[in-house]
Point group: C2
Amino acid sequence: MKYVYLFQEGNKNMKELLGGKGANLAEMTSLGLPVPSGFIVTTEACNQYYENNKVMHEEIKKQIFEKIEELEKITSKKFGDKENPLLLSIRSGARISMPGMMDTILNLGMNDEIAISFSKKIGNARFVYDSYRRFIQMYADVVMGYPRTQFEEELDSFKKEKNVKLDMDLSAEDMKHLTEKYKEIYKKIGNSDFPQDPRKQLIEAITAVFRSWMNERAIVYRKMNDIPESYGTAVNVQEMVYGNLGENSGTGVAFTRNPATGENSLYGEYLMNAQGEDVVAGIRTPNPIATLKEKMPTIYAEFERIAKTLENHYHDMQDMEFTIENGKLFMLQTRNGKRTGRAALKIAVDLEKEGLITKEEALLKVDAESLDQLLHPTFDVSALKEGNIIAKGLAASPGAASGKIYFTASAVEAAFLKGEQTILVREETSPEDIKGMVKAEGVLTVRGGMTSHAAVVARGMGRCCICGCADLVIQEKEKTLTTKDGKVYKEGDFISLDGSTGNVYDGLLRKVEAQIHDDFETFMSWADEVRHLQIRANADTPNDAKQARKFGAEGIGLCRTEHMFFNEERIFPFRKMITSVTDDQREKALLEILPYQREDFIGLFEAMEGLPVIIRFLDPPLHEFLPHTTKEIRALAKSLDIPYETLKNRVEELKEFNPMMGHRGCRLTITYPSITRMQTRAVIEAAIAVSKKGITVKPEIMIPLISDPKELHYVEEIVKDEAEKVLKENNISLEYLVGTMIETPRATLFADVIAETAEFFSFGTNDLTQLTYGFSRDDSSKFLNTYYEKGIFEKDPFAKIDEYGIGKLILLASKKARRIRPSIELGICGEHGGEASSIAFCNKIGLDYVSCSPYRVPIARLAAAQASIKANQSK
Amino acid sequence: MKYVYLFQEGNKNMKELLGGKGANLAEMTSLGLPVPSGFIVTTEACNQYYENNKVMHEEIKKQIFEKIEELEKITSKKFGDKENPLLLSIRSGARISMPGMMDTILNLGMNDEIAISFSKKIGNARFVYDSYRRFIQMYADVVMGYPRTQFEEELDSFKKEKNVKLDMDLSAEDMKHLTEKYKEIYKKIGNSDFPQDPRKQLIEAITAVFRSWMNERAIVYRKMNDIPESYGTAVNVQEMVYGNLGENSGTGVAFTRNPATGENSLYGEYLMNAQGEDVVAGIRTPNPIATLKEKMPTIYAEFERIAKTLENHYHDMQDMEFTIENGKLFMLQTRNGKRTGRAALKIAVDLEKEGLITKEEALLKVDAESLDQLLHPTFDVSALKEGNIIAKGLAASPGAASGKIYFTASAVEAAFLKGEQTILVREETSPEDIKGMVKAEGVLTVRGGMTSHAAVVARGMGRCCICGCADLVIQEKEKTLTTKDGKVYKEGDFISLDGSTGNVYDGLLRKVEAQIHDDFETFMSWADEVRHLQIRANADTPNDAKQARKFGAEGIGLCRTEHMFFNEERIFPFRKMITSVTDDQREKALLEILPYQREDFIGLFEAMEGLPVIIRFLDPPLHEFLPHTTKEIRALAKSLDIPYETLKNRVEELKEFNPMMGHRGCRLTITYPSITRMQTRAVIEAAIAVSKKGITVKPEIMIPLISDPKELHYVEEIVKDEAEKVLKENNISLEYLVGTMIETPRATLFADVIAETAEFFSFGTNDLTQLTYGFSRDDSSKFLNTYYEKGIFEKDPFAKIDEYGIGKLILLASKKARRIRPSIELGICGEHGGEASSIAFCNKIGLDYVSCSPYRVPIARLAAAQASIKANQSK
């Protein structure tokens, strides 16, 4: 078995064996680029090490030293030689770049004797001892696991003693002194001398890399990212080159294009007379890469040429590390560069225009999720600091918001009039809060989940919102907000919300406004060409619908009619309807509601101009619509002309233990068929009004929450009866569909019988997930974090569809339904409809469409395209 | 096609064609018993009538009049003859006795001419005109659908005019007068004369019976009882016999044995000189059947002989109708008699002893559900009146209770000391109410379902309880209870609760105490011989367990460990545990809980003496255990030595939107593994303590509410680790099982993977039903009634298992599990475990056991036996 490869023996396709970094070093070598020579100990050697009870096999050692001999020939240096020593860097390199793994050991191969004679030879003792002392510290740290503090303290106190500020100001003698001190510390900690045998140093260092594959951080990271343990890590052993040999030397990092904007020009920075760690440490300010053109025009030209070569070769933007040693350029690393969503899109479009990649390849180069950044303002990355996070809630509606906190809608309104930027903070919101939500930059609630009032309304208006932030406690009376750590925020204090992550930050943060890139339309049109899934939007109002169409929605997959009543003016008749005791009261309330509904449906149909519009009939979890405060109940009682006590009793009666599993969905319309009649009338009358204007209308009436075929059958008969009545009244004919949501586990079991009645299915994956797992989204956030920590769940089933549980039920139901009604229209409308992996699943099982919130439509379009491309590739 | 059968042409096995009543009349005829002659128009004739657009086919009419001719020969009377007329009774008779169908027309064949000459012939004009006017009224009512009121008003005003009280006091002339008046009324209502043609009368009457098959009440009844429309009804046409011909005539009803006690002696009553309707009308008081022995010894002897013949023939207790006409006995009907549970049991055992039936047949003769009456006090049937029902709730714990209402536990206690019988009425109960529950006769709550605190505790103590009685509103401050109709009950007013039906009655009702019948043990031992399913009990305390064993439980199928804390002394440390913020607090609280748990487990193991005991680890829906009132929170805060505000915030934090889908079950133990460790320790330490006394112990540890195999795997590892630790500490070895509840839909999908870890499954059909349908039991009572009314659901899925939905998941999971672990122990422990049709289902799919509440164990034993017998029969 061959365990060790010279760089010239490998190539970029050997990542499994050589690791990512090693394969790219090999590739650059074979491209004839200036790469310091070296070799790679393979991932198989790592696995062999673990199979062999964590002892490196003699065969591997033998092969390592054979390669050392070859390296000596190539470099004309000798490992362990006093006059002309071969010094090495050791770096880990797994198949996939992995934080938590051992990083780097530099200057390996140095010892006391070599330091003395090598200093003499090159006449630069300062450089040699600087390298030696760094080596000792790195070796102690990463090979032996000794703490770094004692070494750092020694350096600091010595600089103080010498009264210098920078390491650079220390002399050769000083470095020699430090080297001795470091060796003493090393001996004191581990009770053994620093190893003087370069061969021992090498084997120990490589073994340390192997060991780091199984350190705790690496294990956790692999679990989180689904990386098998069996991958193992490779080890890169490479001749040292020095950027710190004087003003003719230097080191830097650069991208072939701008990773923030995608602009096609070199982007990066460098420092002269420095080693890599100096660039990172931030003590000296690096120079922009462009200035290298003046300083070292030949080097810059060469680097530009190399960058272009690499990009052409890898067909992607590259992230490179380089070192200049005495006026000679060396490439230390290249890899596909990370980039912002904006840059990813521009680079993908440009690369296609440059003929480097196909449209399909371009589509795969952009993380669908990253498009979110293009559509919402975000915080300036440099402004975000982990330490500033004061709480974490549910990322309910994306965007970035900063402002003063206020605890009531009216306080927000007052502050708004004074020109203040505000954050509305509430236990949970109710329709009375909408005035405040409109005026606030962002909304933060302590209770409530992704489908709570706050979340739904905020998403609808594109307002940043964090929900269910249980880390915080509100003292409404005192107007304070207390964090888990006991920090108290008063009314008027500043906080910032990142609606895309759910993080709540202390203070005011810098924002970057959303900018739709010029290439956005081009790119999205490519996506539309290849995708099979239709993308619809969840839109409850004409405004939502317009927004959705702007983002490319091909229909409305879910209009939640009860959300049309989430504002103060309309909540009133709705509450009347809900709290009605007699049929008469209810009929009256419904008559008040009808015009609102019809008006909204007209708006929706007009906005969608002939695209399909699925209108879900009322599915109000009662508690969201009940009046709560004495004041609200009094007002309603007065309007209903009934005693306060009577209404209060009625409200008590309507309260539910588990509203999610309560009197909602079709259950409500079965109890009160007049609701169904009113809604049918509103839909059909609106459709007639709009079609009379010459606009095609495709209403699809959807009955929610059925668990038995008979429920649908019962409601469908009422819908058809009323619809025919309205059409007859207007002496007109019009096509419409009647379908249902499949969102209870039982409905999936009876999908075939249901399909006898239903003309379409929309899988409600939110409720289906809740019921199949048996936990509600609003409550589960309390324990799901523990599940992730303990590795019981790998992902949030409310975010990414549970393919093997929920997905199985959906697949089963789809098959059953198509057997009975082959033309049945199938889609999903839960939050999953806007998430890439869930969209891929929907594509795989052959659904017709996914529906998501308007702002996620572009993401869904791209994810659907990527799913199509990948499905084709794997054929 | 033969549409009409003489009685002598049929037999008891022809119920499908001849209907129940007709088949039995035919059977009695062929047994040579004195039955007035007659014939039956078949159910097929009824179906033909509907096929023929509700017109009776000429062929059927032809056959009817052919049989009339034969009847004339047999009776030597002539239909329509003036001197010697054949008068007929017409009665409906479906396959299954059905309320709402047309009942009876008597004296058909009478008209003006016949009345005159017939009166002369028999010299009894009063009798003839009495018969005639009755006939007119019945014909008007059931054939023509005319209202009865005008006829009744005429009779009443005429009696007033004549100044008589009883019909009997009216003379022949009076009857004649009434007949004329009735004919006038008849004509006035329908604008046509009363038909004088007997043949027309006959065909119209038979057609009216056919029509009544499709009247609304009949349709509703069929739907409710799953009787197909295609059955149709037969019509019995029979020669009239008269019990009202004088003191030598009479009529009565009797059972071959006592239907209340089962005692083997004739039981019934009769009236001399009366027709059947007089017995029912209750104007005269009938005499006990025994007195007939003195009055008419020969008739009585004949009747006794007939009764014995019928019993021997039908192998069951008979319910008979008879008439004595001028000293001659006629049998008008026989059928298997309805009986109380107590009688059913005694009769079944006696019949077996008498050699009339086998043990299997005896077992099938007792409705399993009726055993409930034997184990709980019940109200005296005669005391129950529909009109007295003031509200209906959930039948949470069976029994009968009457008493004064009180609204707090302390008021109940005070009243108890004064010797009062009380009913505790609460919005919902909490552990603080237990003192009151112990002292009250019964418990009534307005909120909460079959698994609420009140229901669980009441069942555990065998206390009568009605829960979730949403018809009532409590005004706690005013100490009043208001019904839907606005009636107000004050503290101290009397009400009665029927815990077996959920009915709440006004006032104090007479009770019948529970009496375990002598034959109970014999009967149950027969059941045990034939059943395959093991019967376990849901028992949470040693007392429950003892009770369960008394009733024949073969193990504990569910010990809900959180219920061990449903009392005031123990709730305190439990609340501490739940509200703990730090691990340290929680550990301390757990240490307080451990001794309680261990002590209870010791009691359980001792009570069950080696029978299996399934202990479900904590599954507390948090809200049931949180302190609610300021007082409770203050007390707890003091004991935890933390500020009131802190605890109040913590309590707020722990509140859930949907507790049923919240932080409960294994989720709690995954978050806080120390709970699992404490419980494991308590179980194993208790098992060790008991086994040291020489008693075998079979603990089965059950992890609730898993939705993913990894959850079980995680908890199981902790359980095994702690168990081994305890065993090692005690230097002992002991067998125990670790299994799980399958109660989320997702768990059923992964049953095979779960069975790799689980050594047993207990299907939690309560939660499984809730989650699969998507409605909670506590909330669904609000809309399920509408579902039944509208025919969408036929039965309560929480009472009878939903075979095609939930049942399918259970079957699927069982198959998957057995594929992986053939020996896996499978059972159910939801409320369905005590319901007969659900038990039959469990038997069918081959589960190992069912588990139910202690008082239902006998019911389950019998239901399981019946399921086994029926399964054998259908093989």
